[in-house]
């Protein structure tokens, strides 16, 4: 008798350990279709049962997908978007972006410029900062680009809407060339993005590493002469077909060069973006040698 009880317990154990069943699954089990098969076929109920079974399978698949999704790392693009915003949150006080700002109409002006140059369906977010600590930056978003520009810089340089838009466009191209991501990305990011961590704790140290790299790239490392040359040449190529825009860009670089040489507050700019003086030279037509 004892053996019988033990066997029945062992049989029932796996049943008890099964995960909770779906409502549809339970409904399916309630009816034993075999005994009334003929009647069911006549009434079309067996067809309904098949449909129900399919429904259960689909729901089960969806449930499993949701469950594994809970333990997934975001995709690389989503991680860039998240990290950019998190970096802006972590540096909110230094950057001072939470302030009442004038409506410069930059969004319309920048949109028009991008469209005129043939950039369609591009999403962007512009953040004005009330700090001279950061003059400009372009950061990767999830589906969009995040462009940062300093209001004290705009005011002191007395920049027009078009000039601001040209600066933003240059930043957009720099980001598009992939310099920022290349400098900031880590091996761990590409390894971990989109993977599953079920059964372990999520490892967020790679985001902390990225945040450090963001700060270092934006505040210390900046861009090389070679990278700036590439960006300037790209600007030249895009603007050449529109002499008005090309002249505005050329004048802007000259204006920046003069301003930065006399203003100590923005002395670090040239180290990060070398340099408006060189950019003017790169754009200037070659002198004719007689």
């Amino acid at each position: 008798m004892k053996i019988l009880i033990l066997i029945s317990c062992l049989i029932s154990l796996p049943i008890l350990s099964q995960t909770e069943k779906l409502q549809e699954e339970k409904e399916l089990e309630v009816v034993n279709f075999n005994s009334i098969k003929k009647i069911l076929i006549q009434d079309g109920l067996s067809e309904a049962a098949k449909k129900k079974e399919k429904q259960v399978q689909i729901l089960k698949k969806e449930q499993a997908k949701v469950e594994t999704g809970r333990f997934m790392y975001p995709t690389e693009s989503e991680i860039w978007g998240f990290t950019t915003e998190y970096w802006l949150i972590k540096n909110a006080q230094i950057l001072d972006w939470d302030f009442e700002k004038p409506d410069y109409g930059i969004d319309k002006s920048f949109r028009t410029l991008m469209q005129d140059l043939g950039f369609y369906q591009k999403k962007f977010k512009i953040l004005l900062v009330n700090s001279p600590n950061i003059v400009r930056a372009a950061l990767p978003g999830n589906e969009e680009i995040v462009l940062i520009i300093s209001v004290p810089f705009i005011r002191m340089m007395d920049l027009s809407k078009l000039e601001i838009s040209l600066m933003l466009f240059e930043d957009f191209l720099r980001l598009d060339l992939g310099y920022f991501k290349k400098s900031v990305a880590t091996e761990k990011l590409t390894k971990i993005a989109g993977s599953n961590f079920q059964g372990t704790k999520p490892d967020i140290s790679f985001v902390e590493e990225l945040l450090k790299n963001y700060s270092s790239q934006i505040n210390e490392k900046g861009y090389s002469f070679q990278q700036m040359f590439e960006v300037t040449k790209k600007m030249d190529a895009y603007l050449k077909s529109n002499p008005e825009l090309w002249n505005a860009y050329f004048r802007l670089l000259g204006k920046m060069d003069r301003f930065l040489k006399t203003n100590i507050q923005f002395k670090d700019y040239i180290k990060l973006y070398p340099s408006p003086e060189m950019q003017v030279k790169w754009l200037s037509p070659d002198e004719k040698v007689l």
Binding site: F82, E85, I89, E100, I106, F110, R111, F119, F124, I126
Partner: protein, 130 residues
């Protein structure tokens, strides 16, 4: 004759109820945001809400708002949210899609507050389809 005294207040209550209409329930789209005291990006926050939070949009003759803002009710708070942040369908949120990853950051209140402010301060745009 005592009911004559009650009549004006009844009339007032009637007009009170008719000049306000619930337009519908919408969902908050960005990761975090604020219900504002006034229809300004920098105005004080009444409460912080997160993505997918249901928001009741109200139309009231007593409150005039610009076309970019909606007058809303969230729990006991009545305030303003930018219309571009509201969607008809429940959105797919980052924190909903990756709950374990997101929880690991253990964001504190000030970070949630600033995240909401950041979304208000962004000037968003998109170039048109070709």
């Amino acid at each position: 004759m005592w009911w004559l005294l009650l009549f004006p207040s009844l009339l007032f209550a009637e007009s009170n109820s008719t000049d306000e209409r619930v337009v519908g329930t919408f969902y908050f789209n960005p990761m975090f945001g604020h219900v504002h005291q006034s229809a300004l990006r920098t105005s004080a926050s009444l409460t912080t809400i997160q993505c997918s939070h249901p928001v009741k949009v109200i139309e009231s003759s007593k409150v005039s708002v610009s076309k970019e803002w909606a007058y809303v009710q969230v729990a006991d708070h009545r305030g303003f949210i930018r219309k571009e942040f509201l969607t008809v369908k429940r959105p797919e949120c980052f924190q909903g899609k990756y709950p374990r990853f997101f929880d690991a950051f253990n964001l504190d209140l000030s970070e949630l507050y600033y995240w909401g402010r950041l979304n208000d301060q962004f000037i968003q745009g998109e170039t048109r389809v070709k």
